[in-house]
Every structure is written in C-alpha cells, then in structure tokens.
C-alpha cells in the first residue's frame, strides 16, 4: 500500500496518460495506428518547448516567454529561409536566435537576479510584439508575400524538402515526433545522469546550500534559460517545417501555459528540485490526446482549455489530497 503510494506520486504521469488514452480509445470510433502516431506529431512542438520549461522549473524558476519566443523565432526563421533557401542555415538560425532570447531572460534572472516571473512576463510581451511588428514592417517579399503571416516561399527549391521533413514519417512514425522523443531521451539523460543535472536539482532543492556546495548558481540559471531558448528555437523550426508558415498572432499562443501545465502534470514541483524530465513528455502527450478526444466527440474546440484545466486540477488534487486522505484513514484504523 505504502509502496503503491510512492509509485503513484513518482509516476502519476503514466497513470494520467493511460486514463486519458483509454478515454480516447473509447471515444474515437476505431483506434488506428496512424491516429496514435498523429499524437506524436501534434505533441512535437509543445513537447520540445516543455522540456526546456521542465529544466527551468527544476531550478525553481519559470519562463513565461516561451510562447512568444516560439512565434518570434519561427517568424524570423521563415525570413532566413526565404532569403537563403538553406535548411541547415535556417535550423542554425532558429537554435541560435532561440538561445539568444533565452540568454536575455537568463542574464536578467540569473545575473541581475530579477524575479523570473516579472522578467519573462516582460519578454513575453516584447517577443510577441516584435513578431507582430516586424511582420507588418518588413519587405513583403521576405515573408512570402503574405500580409500578416510569415509564409515560406513555396517556390524555393528547398521548400519541399523542409516541408517533407516536417510532415514525413520514418517507419510510420512522424519525423517531428522522433525529434521530440530523441530530445526527451537526451534530457532525461542530462537530468538524471550528468553532473549538470545534479546541479540543476540541487539549486531547485535549496539554492543557498547549492551555492555553499560550490555551485555557481547564477551561471547555472543562465544556462537553463539558454537551453530552454535552444529547445524553443528547435520547436520553432519544427513548427515551420510542419506548417510552412508562422502567424505572429497565434503561433505559440498560450504555449507557456501548456508547457507549464505539462511540466506540472509530469510531476515536476514548481518550487524546484523534485520531479522527472520523463514526466514532461507524458504531460505534453496527455494534453494532445485531450485535443483528439474533443475532435472525436465533435465538441466545440472552445471547450478545450476548460477540460485541460479541469484535468490539471484533478491530477494535482489527487497528489495533494491523496496523502492527507491516507493519513486520516490510518488514524481511524
């Protein structure tokens, strides 16, 4: 009984995914392999971004700017692609620009020691505004001739290759899903088996003690924000590869909230120091499946966020109330 409780608290994200998946299996008329694989495809961007959020949350900080950062990086990457026509350069730019956006957050939070909530709230406004402003004020040719959307130049020779990558499959598994799984594997390894990972946990657990143990807390926080920026840049690259365009107003909108929710659903404590990076993948996929369920039930997609919110509250309710109920049960027994 006690052991079961411990497994629940550590791996609740697996139970959550299973339950949601069962609901999906029941509601969708006929479960198909490609339908399931589609979950990977649609989790790819949010899953990648949420990994970075998970790392930041483990240090006890937060990054509200990832959604806007995604839109800005995706938009500018489209321009880079349209100008250069080079996929590799586009990828490098997306990663580099994302890392730069993360560095701005990191320097202000880790270096200047401003509160992360305020800093990233501000950069959330700034990045989104830049994305929208530049979309209106650059040469139309650069954004594929569109008016309020960054569109990739479909006439470009490399376009089909990039779009093909974003929508292609290897052995029936979507390419972008594979990228997400690889990233998850990488960050599970980093967080659990490297000294860098141990230091991240140490800072979130007790930053004073971490400092007195010789950890450079400022540098570690800066690095976590940069890595989150890198992952958001990768997410932006996946986004344009999948969609061929980025809308500065809607791309990545509310993604910071979905990312945080995935992290929490995945069992990472917002106060830092506790939780597993693997949970982030399950959290992100759980939310994608909710989208699928709503489509399968032919419900209005506007109810989407309400259901996601309720699931989040239910899961945390079980986590928080579970031990209390068990304690009371023990008392009366």
């Amino acid at each position: 009984m006690k052991k079961l409780g411990r497994i629940w608290s550590e791996y609740s994200f697996i139970f959550v995914l299973i339950v949601i998946f069962i609901v999906y299996a029941i509601t969708s008329s006929g479960l198909t392999w490609s339908g399931v694989m589609n979950i990977f495809r649609h989790s790819a961007v949010i899953g990648t971004v949420a990994l970075g959020m998970g790392l930041i949350c483990l240090t006890g900080e937060i990054d509200l700017s990832v959604g806007s950062m995604l839109a800005l990086t995706a938009g500018f990457s489209v321009i880079v692609f349209n100008v250069t026509g080079n996929i590799f350069l586009t990828l490098v730019f997306a990663l580099g620009f994302g890392a730069l956006c993360g560095l701005v957050n990191g320097l202000l939070v880790g270096g200047v020691q401003m509160p992360a909530f305020i800093v990233t709230l501000a950069t959330m406004l700034i990045y989104r505004s830049f994305a929208q402003y530049f979309c209106q004020h650059v040469d139309r040719a650069l954004i594929g001739g569109g008016s309020s959307v960054y569109k990739m130049d479909t006439a470009n020779a490399s376009y089909q290759t990039l779009f093909g990558f974003g929508n292609g499959k290897i052995a029936t598994i979507p390419n972008v899903g594979i990228v997400m799984l690889l990233m998850t594997a990488l960050f599970v390894y980093i967080s659990s088996s490297t000294k860098y990972g141990k230091k991240i946990y140490a800072i979130g657990s007790n930053f004073k003690a971490a400092r007195m143990s010789g950890i450079n807390v400022s540098m570690m926080k800066i690095s976590a924000f940069v890595i989150c920026g890198l992952l958001t840049g990768l997410g932006a690259f996946l986004w344009i590869a999948m969609n061929g365009s980025a809308d500065p107003a809607t791309t990545g909108s509310s993604y910071e909230m979905y990312a945080i929710a995935s992290v929490v659903l995945g069992g990472i404590a917002m106060s830092g120091g506790r939780g597993k990076m693997l949970g982030v993948l399950f959290g992100a996929m759980s939310y994608t499946i909710v989208d699928k369920i709503i489509v399968a039930l032919k419900m209005d997609s506007l109810i989407n966020n309400a259901i996601k919110g309720i699931i989040l509250i239910l899961v945390i309710l079980v986590q928080v109330a579970g031990p209390q109920i068990r304690e009371r049960f023990r008392k009366s027994a």
């Binding site: 990972g197 140490a202 007195m212 010789g214």
Partner: protein, 504 residues
C-alpha cells in the same frame, strides 16, 4: 496543586512509538527544564500539550482542569504559549502589529486603534525592561529582540505557562543574561516556564527543576540544585556517555595557510599563520567577525583587502569555486539553511561538491560515488539505511556527517567548520569532536568557529578570540578556559596586560 500534570502520555507515528508513557509535572512559578537528546520526545510532548498533535493515551491536567481533546486555540485560551525555536513572527509587519495579530483593537467600523495597541505594547516592554520600539519593523530587529518579542506576545495573552524551545541558540551571552533576568522577573510574578535547551550552564543558571527523557521514555526528575551537569548528562545519554578528554598533542607540519592583513565585511586586518594538521578554534560574540572571516576565506562572504595564501597559492577573493580549487572546504553554519539539499538522496548530497569540481567530465560516475559513500559511511560512522534515502530521513548529527563527507570527498586539505555542532545532540557532538581530532591526525588542517567555548577546549590547539572585527587574543591549548575567553570576547583585556600574544 501543580499547574500542569501530564501522566502516562503515549504517542506513536505510523507504528513507531515515540512517547512510551512519559510524565511531566510543572509547578506554578517555576522554570522547569525539559531535557533529552534530539529525538527523545520533548517536541512531541510539547506539540501534544499545545494541541498541534493528538495524543494516543494519557491524562493532562492544567490549572485544575482535565483536558481531553486539546486544540491550538484552546491551549492558547488556557494560557499555554509556545515560543518556537524558529520564530513565528511576520518580518514585514511592525512590532505592535505582530503582537496584536488577529486580536487587534478596532472601533466599530473596523478601523484599527493603533494608538491603543502601541501604548499597550510600550507599557509591557517598559514593565519588562525590554528595549524595542513598537513601531519598528520586525525584520530590522536583532534576533534577541525577536525572541523577547515572542515572549512578550505570549505574556500579552496572559500565558500562565510559556514553553521556550532552545531560546538562546542565536543569542550572545549578554543577550542571554538579559533574557534570563526577564525570565526571573516573570517567574517571581508567578509565570511558569518549560525550558528546552542543550546548554548545561544555562539550565543550571536558570531552572528550578528538571525532567529527563530518553528515547521516548521518562527517566527521572528532580531539583536542579540537588544534581550536577554530569549526572544530568548521564541520565540523558545513558551509560555510554563519558566526559573523557579527547584532546592530544600532535606534531604539526609546515605552514599551509597564511592570512596577510585580510579584511572584509565585518572583520579587518587579520594576519594569521596556520600549520598542517593544526586545529585552530575561533570564537567571539555574534558579529565579532570570526564567522565572517572564515566565510570570506571560503569566498562566500565579501573580502575587500589583504591576501589569503593556501598551500603556497594565492586564493582569489569572493570565489567559492576558487577556494575549493585551492583545497579549501567549508562546513557552513545553520545546517538546514546552508547544507541540506532536502529533495536529494544521501549519496547525491554527499557527491555534489566533488561534482562541481569535476564538472568538465559530464556523466556522473555513480559506481565511484557509491564506493566513496561506503568508505565515508564506515569512516565517519554514519547511521543510515540506504544511500538512496532522502537526506531529511537522517538525524541532525548524521546529516552533519554526510556534509563532512561531502567536503572530504573534494580532497580538501583545509577544513573550515562554522559551528559544526549546532542543533546536534550530546552523543553525536562527542563523535564530531572525535572526528575532528582524527582528521587533524590524518593531516587535515582545521579551522573551527563556535560560540561554545567548552567545544574549543576539547579540540583546539589554540584559540583565537575575536572582538569587534579583529583578533583580540590568542590562547594556547592549556590557556583556554571559559572565563578568560569570555572576558576577551567582551573586550576586556587589561587583566592579563603584559602577556603578549605569541604569534604575530
């Protein structure tokens, strides 16, 4: 009739019995010392008395009234107040706001009558001879003032029984004296106290009677003036306790640490030379600079001038990592705040410092960490089940040993120990002393800062007394005695004028 009678109190947590039928009797107008090692059950009993925890069995009579199910509000109403070790004050509120929190005076529209609250607070402070401005913000108060404010808060509720849980931990001797004189005054007025402390001199200075617990069992009680500290200590720790001298003189090596006009926040112009294998005790009242200077050597507190040379290399100022690379380690004071990584396992807690030094090699070598953990567990006598248990599952003494292992694991040759036995019970303290001496014998150089002079007498080759940011006196091992050290640390040096300090 006694003010408080607790009989045959039993309590167990998830099957583990922590109170096995203990008793406690407190008379009106007495200071009753409740003694026992950490984990003896003192806190549990106090939590039962104040309604924080329900009891499994036993009877409680307070002020002639039998108490069945105690709630926190009820115990407060009856006049029982608990002044916790970690003070329960609101730092951002003013003194009088803290005192009247949740019992504010207000007019019928809900407007606060601040004038009346201020006046009442001031009156109480004056009556007790407490110097606190009712309008001061609590964050600006000294720890001793906060402690007194907590007591005043309890008195303002007309508490008949005040529980003081280690009230002197963060006070200097002067402040302790002041606190005690106030407590004596209140005692004369009929207030009773339960006094929980590990410090024998204080217990014998203040308490009238005592009760001793050991491992959740009642061992005995009696009058303080009919016993001795040794007898009480033996009751607390059982037969295993011995007060045997552990110190022995050792041959020292070459100079390994040299400070030249070292200056920083809270200390100035310190010059010092330390030899390999030496144990140097530092002491002084709080704020005298000894702790600040040690922190500055390690780079965790600010240094502004002068040089630190360790093992022939200049140690950079204000860089913990730089100090670590120079072979310096520091066990900081306040274990819970500065050492414990509460979400991490024993092994992770042990390995973390070594990992910051070898961060370039990215993967964790858990096989080697495990081997090292096993070695240190054996060497330091750490009592723990599995290396994968959380650090918080260990007692204070064993946690501290893990942190000693954390630093030994960095292969540091100079160990700075800042108040290493804070909040550790008597048995574990003796073990830590033994360890310190063993490490020195093995060639480690040790600087130890503590406010407890007997501790220095046990281990130090020499003792440096700090006063007002400077070194006021240096004493060889034979010269260290509590009285002299105390005199120097309050700035009195005339008594031994003429005797020059031996080293420059």
């Amino acid at each position: 009739m006694s003010l408080l009678e607790m009989r045959d109190i039993r309590k167990s947590f998830s099957g583990v019995s922590v109170l096995k039928g203990v008793q406690l009797t407190v008379e009106s107008g007495e200071v009753h010392a409740l003694l026992g090692e950490n984990g003896a059950g003192k806190s549990t009993l106090m939590n039962i008395l104040t309604g924080v925890l329900p009891r499994d069995g036993g009877t409680i009579t307070f002020d002639g009234q039998k108490l069945e199910h105690i709630t926190i509000t009820q115990s407060e109403k009856l006049g029982i107040a608990f002044v916790h070790q970690e003070l329960n004050l609101f730092n951002d509120l003013k003194v009088f706001e803290n005192m009247f929190l949740n019992r504010e005076y207000a007019n019928k529209f809900g407007r606060l009558d601040k004038k009346r609250m201020r006046a009442e607070a001031r009156e109480l402070f004056e009556r007790l001879g407490v110097e606190i401005d009712p309008d001061a913000v609590v964050a600006d108060l000294k720890t001793s003032q906060k402690q007194l404010l907590e007591i005043c808060k309890a008195l303002h509720l007309h508490a008949k029984l005040i529980i003081l849980d280690e009230p002197t931990t963060s006070l200097n001797n002067e402040e302790v004296d002041h606190l005690f004189s106030i407590l004596r005054k209140l005692k004369a007025e009929g207030t009773s106290f339960i006094f929980i402390s590990h410090k024998m001199p204080e217990i014998f200075a203040l308490a009238d009677r005592y009760t001793v617990f050991r491992n959740g069992e009642y061992i005995g009680e009696g009058r303080i003036d009919e016993t001795t500290p040794e007898k009480v200590t033996i009751m607390m720790v059982g037969e295993s306790y011995s007060n045997a001298e552990v110190y022995e003189k050792r041959a020292l090596g070459d100079e390994v640490l040299r400070l030249d006009h070292f200056t920083g926040d809270g200390f100035h112009d310190i010059s010092l030379s330390v030899k390999r294998g030496e144990i140097v005790g530092m002491t002084g009242l709080q704020g005298s600079g000894s702790s600040e200077m040690l922190q500055a050597i390690f780079g965790s507190s600010r240094a502004t001038a002068g040089t630190v040379t360790a093992f022939g290399r200049t140690v950079p100022h204000n860089s913990i990592h730089g100090a670590m690379k120079a072979g310096i380690a520091m066990l900081p004071n306040n274990r819970k705040e500065n050492s414990v990584l509460p979400d991490m396992t024993l092994m992770e807690n042990m390995a973390i410092s070594e990992q910051t030094l070898t961060a370039a090699k990215l993967p964790v070598d858990s096989k080697r960490d495990k081997k090292r953990y096993g070695e240190y567990k054996e060497m330091l006598g750490i009592k723990a089940q599995s290396s994968d248990d959380l650090i918080t599952s260990l007692s204070g003494g064993n946690q501290q040993k893990i942190f000693i292992a954390r630093w030994l694991n960095t292969d540091a040759e100079l160990l700075i120990l800042d108040n290493p036995t804070q909040g550790i019970d008597v048995g574990a303290k003796a073990e830590i002393y033994r360890l310190i001496l063993e490490l020195a014998k093995a060639g480690k150089t040790i600087l130890i800062n503590t406010l407890e002079i007997p501790e220095i007498m046990k281990v130090a080759d020499r003792c440096i007394v700090f006063y007002d940011g400077g070194m006021i006196r240096e004493l060889a091992h034979e010269e260290i005695n509590e009285q002299d050290v105390m005199l120097y640390s309050v700035g009195i040096t005339e008594k031994t004028a003429g005797k020059e300090s031996k080293k420059s």
